[in-house]
């Protein structure tokens, strides 16, 4: 175990002020003793670095999938005071509003017998994937501005989904505060041809079966039953989001001196929330977040069409359970020393997990808390959870976002062969379709922490409650 860190609860650890110079608040992270064995010193240092930023409130936090990134650690969460605080692209990441959505179907696993391979092929044809994957859609510059403001609503208004879909998205699929002027011509040029594309890396579209219902009452409210075939979409804001982040980090890095902000890592470049540079980043980031919601909406629409045509089921029978963002900064109201206070919450590789009765979650889910979707790594279980009151108290209503890597990509490539992995998964009944076997090796299940353990920790720590476990049947990857 790392030196200088104190266990302050069953799954809660504190990084005291002084762990790195100039910390304004302590750090807190959530891990089991078993997972603590894999914790990297670099990740703790990054958690402590975040605690040096101006206006940080209470703690610099990290979820159980904490690992070493750049700027914030992955799994990092921090809230900033609206008057004295800052906004930092290092607390969001390059893939703004990378996120996940889960959709149920009326099918049972047996309905896919003998058809799984064909289904996956059809999905692979319908959804552009991988490096260079371009959309068949033609989105004009004028329309792109609408995508950046209206998000998923833009897609639904074009007939790519239903009004009910919007209610079941975080922020109803479009955050307020978009400023298209803060999105460069370069970002637009990248974003135009990529609406409705999955991208590469760990992004995927996966067909799953709800294998285990853990909380029947919550499952009923979320509309998911045991044995039901579902699908999950995991992707973000593509080149547009990457360019928005790149452009604004450059500006904010140059403005550090102007605002007399000292950061221990240039990737933590930031500006006061109430500054021209801070407002511009936030407005641009919102545009990219909305683009990502539109992107996932279009991909879901294409997948629904495939299911509908192949299995002769109605489009409307495929119900969106929820869509969550896991790389974003937002203005939210939280309890600060007993007073409801607006703060700017950054979540980098962390999921919002608002508890029962919280504002901003669909009325139909109000009694349970918002759905939280945790994708598994390739070939492993994904989980549906619900938000909790404990998360509201301890983590600004946040929980983990995934499993968290434990093995580098370069080592993964040496240890695993993509083709063998694909064949091994096929033996387990999981069909994998990707452009490259080599890319598969990087995402082998063994390179991640066991998702069950990460999810167990957030459940035991009370940050969210497990509702259902989903197992993969087939996946398309970038």
């Amino acid at each position: 175990m790392l030196q200088g860190i104190n266990m302050v609860g069953d799954f809660e650890w504190e990084v005291p002020v002084g762990y790195v110079p100039n910390m304004r608040v302590p750090g807190r992270f959530f891990l089991s003793r078993a997972l603590a064995e894999t914790l990297e010193e670099g990740a703790v240092r990054q958690l402590a670095n975040v605690a040096t930023l101006p206006g940080i409130v209470k703690y610099s936090l990290a979820m159980p999938d904490i690992h070493w990134g750049y700027g914030f650690p992955i799994g990092g969460v921090a809230a900033f005071d609206m008057t004295d605080g800052v906004v930092s692209p290092g607390g969001v990441g390059f893939d703004i509003n990378c996120g996940v959505r889960l959709i149920t179907t009326p099918l049972k696993e047996a309905d896919l017998a003998g058809k799984k391979r064909e289904l996956i092929e059809r999905l692979f044809s319908a959804v552009p994937t991988g490096v260079g994957g371009k959309s068949a859609m033609r989105v004009s510059n004028k329309e792109l501005a609408a995508v950046m403001v209206d998000g998923a609503r833009w897609a639904v208004e074009r007939g790519l989904g239903t009004a009910a879909d919007l209610v079941r998205c975080e922020e109803e699929g479009a955050m307020p505060g978009a400023d298209p002027e803060a999105v460069s011509a370069k970002a637009r040029q990248r974003g135009g041809p990529q609406v409705g594309t999955l991208g590469a890396g760990n992004h995927f579209l996966e067909v799953q079966v709800a294998k285990e219902i853990v909380d029947p009452e919550a499952a009923k409210v979320f509309g998911i039953t045991e044995g039901q075939v579902c699908f999950m979409v995991h992707c973000g804001s593509r080149g547009l989001g990457h360019q928005v982040a790149t452009d604004h980090i450059r500006v904010l890095e140059g403005a550090l001196g102007k605002y007399r902000i000292e950061v221990p890592d240039r990737q933590l470049a930031c500006a006061p929330l109430d500054s021209a540079e801070g407002r511009a980043y936030y407005g641009g980031m919102v545009c990219a977040a909305n683009y990502a919601w539109a992107n996932r909406q279009v991909i879901m629409h294409e997948a629904r069409k495939v299911f509908s045509g192949f299995f002769e089921i109605d489009y409307d029978e495929m119900r969106l359970v929820y869509d969550v963002a896991h790389n974003v900064a937002k203005f939210e109201h939280h309890d600060v020393n007993g007073v409801s206070t607006e703060v700017c919450v950054h979540r980098k590789g962390a999921t919002r997990a608002f508890g029962p009765g919280s504002p901003g979650i669909p009325r139909e889910y109000a009694a349970i808390g918002q759905p939280v979707i945790i994708p598994g790594s390739m070939g492993t279980s994904s989980f549906l959870l619900h938000g909790t009151a404990t998360a509201m108290q301890k983590t600004w209503g946040s929980t983990c976002h995934g499993a968290g890597r434990v093995l580098s990509r370069s080592k993964a490539k040496k240890e695993f062969r993509g083709r063998e992995l694909r064949e091994h998964l096929a033996e387990e009944g999981i069909v994998v379709r990707a452009h490259s076997d080599l890319a598969l090796a990087e995402e082998a299940p063994e390179v991640y922490k066991p998702s069950r353990e990460v999810v167990r920790v957030v459940h035991e720590a009370g940050l969210s409650g497990i509702v259902a476990r989903l197992e993969p049947l087939g996946v398309i990857k970038g």
Partner: protein, 135 residues
């Protein structure tokens, strides 16, 4: 001179070496395209980039970010990088080929170039820089 991939659990960390600053920048470009696409060859596509930045580290990030932009919108894979640096100004002549999904799908899409830990240092033989790519 050379580049090598070091261990980094979440992203890709490369250590790049060059006899001169200009060579270091050229190697960094080569490293980035190798991470993204694997092997590549010159098939007659040429582009020119000119940039200006207040310090070499920012100039390097600007160059790599510009290359990410060009490859994303034009689907070009670059393999040779002829870099000239005069003070704060950089010009680079790039050569490469069109993206081919069959030959160029061995790598990882890079989302951005991180400032984290990026510092150009000079050891006994060469200039060295560690770069983290977000993928």
């Amino acid at each position: 001179m050379s580049f090598e991939e070091l261990d980094h659990t979440a992203d890709v960390l490369v250590r790049v070496r060059g006899a001169t600053i200009a060579e270091l920048f050229a190697e960094a470009g080569r490293a980035m395209f190798h991470v993204m696409y694997g092997p590549c060859e010159d098939r007659g596509i040429e582009r020119q980039v000119t940039l200006e930045a207040e310090n070499p580290e920012t100039l390097l990030i600007d160059l790599l970010s510009e290359l990410l932009f060009v490859t994303d919108v034009e689907n070009i894979v670059f393999c040779t990088f002829d870099v000239d640096i005069q003070g704060t100004r950089l010009s680079a002549a790039l050569k490469g080929e069109p993206f081919d999904p069959v030959r160029h799908s061995a790598g990882s899409l890079i989302k951005g170039v991180s400032y984290f830990g990026l510092e150009i240092v000079k050891d006994e033989e060469s200039y060295v820089v560690d770069i983290i790519f977000d993928i």
